[in-house]
């Protein structure tokens, strides 16, 4: 096995009742990679991530994280993971300080360290003034920043990010992209899941496209370009997911709008 291999998924299957969501996913990720994890709605992206995080059980195939099967040691490996879910509920009656120190402590940080660290990170992210305010009063962008910070407090080795820049302004997105690049340069692995093709195209060192429960494409952006006729990632995405009739649908939609 490769020393650098961080994550290995072999023949992963998962169904809900009769519905097969994952039909044998295979992939392998090494240190320092930023994986752009894309696919149409319902392709199984979130399900894969949830399985890796141990939030979903009862799957077929094998998932190895840092060389260990996650079923073997189902707790300790979580210490090395950071996670930003797409739709994240938080105990928003707490203040930022209260929530972040709680999270930090459960990852084994001492209260003071967690407090200092989260305050410093909140300030750097431009939301220091909201640190002692209730999360329920946060704007969407502030909330997202809080979630990003909460996923990084314990200095994880692998990050799973699901639409992390949702609600962030352009300047904060710049900061965040820089953070990702720096983290990757230090050998952290980042799993970046998003529907924003242009962002994925720019930040990813490698792109994995999931379609219909299987990996439909896997490679750098250049490799994907070479294998298809499309120029942008969006075009490649359309092509690989077999979607061509957007024009017709758009026309019909407008026609219905104009009926009064």
């Amino acid at each position: 096995m490769n020393e650098q291999e961080v994550l290995m998924i072999a023949n992963l299957t998962k169904s809900y009742g009769n519905k097969e969501i994952l039909k044998g996913v295979n992939l392998s990720v090494t240190r320092g990679e930023i994986i752009g994890y894309i696919g149409p709605n319902g392709a199984g992206k979130s399900t894969t991530i949830k399985i890796i995080l141990g939030m979903e059980g009862d799957y077929g195939g094998e998932v190895r994280l840092f060389g260990e099967n996650i079923e073997q040691d189902s707790i300790e490996y979580k210490r090395r993971i950071g996670y930003v879910p797409e739709i994240a509920d938080v105990y928003d009656n707490l203040t930022g300080y209260e929530y972040l120190t709680f999270i930090g402590q459960l990852y084994g940080l001492n209260l003071d360290i967690a407090a200092n660290k989260s305050q410093a990170l909140m300030e750097l992210f431009g939301v220091g003034e909201a640190y002692h305010a209730r999360i329920s009063s946060y704007s969407k962008g502030m909330r997202q920043k809080l979630l990003i910070i909460s996923s990084l407090l314990h200095n994880p080795d692998i990050l799973f990010l699901d639409e992390p820049i949702n609600g962030l302004d352009a300047n904060s997105v710049m900061i965040f992209k820089e953070i990702l690049a720096q983290l990757a340069a230090q050998g952290k692995t980042i799993f970046y899941s998003s529907h924003l093709m242009d962002v994925v195209e720019k930040i990813s060192s490698r792109i994995i496209l999931l379609h219909d429960g299987k990996v439909a494409a896997d490679g750098t952006f250049e490799q994907l370009q070479a294998a298809s006729t499309g120029g942008t990632l969006e075009a490649i995405f359309n092509q690989l997911t077999d979607f061509h009739n957007y024009k017709e649908i758009g026309e019909q939609f407008v026609a219905v709008v104009q009926e009064v």
Binding site: K78, R79, A88, D89, Y91, N93, Y97, E98, L111, A133
Partner: protein, 543 residues
């Protein structure tokens, strides 16, 4: 969508709205949607009885009114008998205004403070005046229901005993009072929002809700006794400072018109009763733009506040909770209990009741015969304070934000025992022990030093009882279950747990009264049991 009867009734006054430039058709449509949405909502009073399944939600509000009809019986002697109007009617209106105002704040604040209105309705081609009229009518419809429930029976009695003039004055005044209350509440919110942020306002509303629930719980006890306390011959005189007593304004017209009392104050007060609601509504219309502007504060970030940490507390905490996870969860649970409004609404009224209950029962037995506090066993009544434990322990595993529990799955936690232990300890130390300590101090002064061992027994019994309740409810991870999952089964369990508390109290009574050093023996047994049961309950192992 259903067409509501009340709206068909409202249709009759359509011309009135059209005259003052309100698009009645649109207002009616908005009202219809709002009333439909309300059918999915349950009033504060229903939240209290944790068991209600929400299948039969239709007319849920109307059904809850029966409770108020019951309360209205208290007004019968005040409205139906006697001619000491200033006193009687002041009392009646004081209670009535209190009831309507608190209900208004606890159940209809959401209507006044609905920020969705702004984003949904203001973006459509509708005159803001129509939107505000709809808002106002929406609340008024409910307050009308409430007022009818609260006054219908006493009013009928009044009609027969006091005559038609009394009846008519009351009807007019009730309408004025309702308008006055809505406007007064709105003005109150305008004032709060002017100086504080939205979170403060939500907290204030939450405390009013808690107060109302507690008032209803205790009021029920007081209600039965109130008839003995009433003294109809009590003379009330008007002073210049009575001008601040709003119920007096509304009592004055009765004196003026029915008793022919033409004193200066009576006339001034009668004038106030009519003019103030009208002035207030004019003021409200003037202030609506400010209100709407300040409403935006509900959406903005609240001010930062910083809490101090004391090192002594930290040291004590590390004695109580051994591992850092347990400490983290102790802190988290304390914060949730302090800050989650849903939790507070469901638990704090019981907390207040748990404090009052022992005294209610002691006073009850005092009325039967004299108590010699130096030998009485009446302190056993302190067990009534344990009523809070099952409710609180049940609520501890539920949360309005239960979805936020995804974090537990992501954490590297071997098992959840530390979390559970931490939250139970937080409940005991932050909610129960303070209650227990205050009660104990009062009881100590009532019954003397001799009951100290017994009080210690109660403390140990409470800890044991807490863990028993916790196991009984299925040892859930704290704050991970939705609130609406609390069903009838749980209500039954609460009932069974109350029997267990009664048994504990019974054993205590037996040991203390029949056996020498019985309390001490019981204390030792409880201490050992506590140790064993807590150990067994948290033996580790998954989940």
């Amino acid at each position: 969508m259903e067409d509501f009867k009340i709206l068909q009734l409202l249709d009759k006054s359509r011309f009135l709205y059209n005259k003052i430039g309100i698009d009645y058709g649109l207002m009616r449509k908005i009202l219809q949607v709002k009333l439909t949405m309300d059918e999915h909502r349950v009033p504060t009073f229903y939240n209290q009885s944790a068991g209600k399944k929400n299948e039969d939600q239709k007319y849920g509000y109307i059904k809850s009114l029966w409770f108020y009809v019951l309360i209205s019986l208290i007004f019968i002697p005040f409205m139906g008998f006697g001619e000491n109007y200033l006193f009687q009617i002041s009392i009646t209106y004081a209670v009535l205004i209190f009831m309507i105002m608190t209900t208004m704040i606890s159940d209809f604040s959401t209507v006044l403070l609905d920020v969705r209105d702004k984003s949904i309705l203001s973006t459509k081609p509708i005159d803001p005046r129509t939107v505000n009229a709809a808002k106002f009518m929406h609340i008024l419809i409910y307050l009308t229901y409430l007022t009818i429930a609260l006054t219908a029976i006493p009013l009928v009695v009044g009609l027969f005993r006091q005559g038609i003039l009394f009846f008519l004055i009351t009807i007019v005044e009730l309408i004025l009072i309702n308008i006055f209350i809505v406007v007064l509440t709105a003005l109150l919110y305008i004032a709060i929002l002017r100086f504080f942020d939205g979170e403060k306002l939500k907290d204030a509303i939450n405390y009013v809700q808690i107060g109302l629930s507690l008032f209803l719980m205790v009021g029920y006890q007081v209600l039965i006794r109130s008839f003995e306390l009433v003294d109809f011959t009590m003379a009330v005189e008007l002073h210049w400072w009575s001008i601040f007593l709003i119920p007096m304004w509304f009592a004055a017209p009765y004196e003026l018109l029915l008793n022919g009392d033409g004193a200066l104050f009576t006339i001034i007060f009668s004038m106030l009763a009519i003019t103030m609601p009208i002035i207030s509504i004019w003021l409200y219309i003037k202030l609506i733009p400010t209100f709407e502007r300040n409403l935006q504060k509900l959406l903005s970030t609240s001010k930062s506040k910083r809490e101090k940490r004391s090192h002594l507390k930290e040291m004590l905490l590390s004695l109580i909770c051994r591992t850092s996870e347990e400490r983290a969860f102790y802190r988290f649970s304390s914060l949730m209990m302090k800050q989650e409004r849903d939790f507070k609404l469901k638990v704090y009224p019981s907390l207040g009741f748990a404090f009052i209950a022992p005294f209610i029962f002691i006073f009850n037995s005092m009325r039967i015969d004299k108590i010699d506090f130096s030998v009485s066993m009446g302190y056993i009544n302190i067990y009534f304070s344990m009523l809070i434990i099952p409710t609180a322990v049940l609520m501890l595993s539920h949360s309005a934000k239960y979805k936020a529990a995804w974090i537990y799955q992501v954490f590297p936690l071997t098992d959840y025992t530390d979390l559970k232990k931490g939250s139970l300890k937080a409940f005991l130390l932050k909610l129960y022990i303070p209650l227990y300590v205050v009660l104990s101090i009062v009881f100590y002064f009532m019954y003397g030093t001799r009951i100290l061992p017994d009080l210690a027994v109660v403390l140990f019994a409470s800890c044991l009882y807490t863990i028993i309740c916790y196991i009984g409810f299925g040892s859930n991870v704290p704050f991970t279950k939705p609130n609406n999952e609390i069903g009838d089964a749980q209500s039954w369990k609460i009932f069974i747990f109350m029997i267990i508390a009664a048994i504990m109290a019974g054993i205590h009574y037996f040991m203390a009264s029949k056996i020498t050093y019985g309390s001490i023996i019981y204390l030792v047994v409880l201490a050992i049991l506590n140790f064993v049961v807590w150990k067994i309950a948290f033996r580790g192992g998954k989940k």
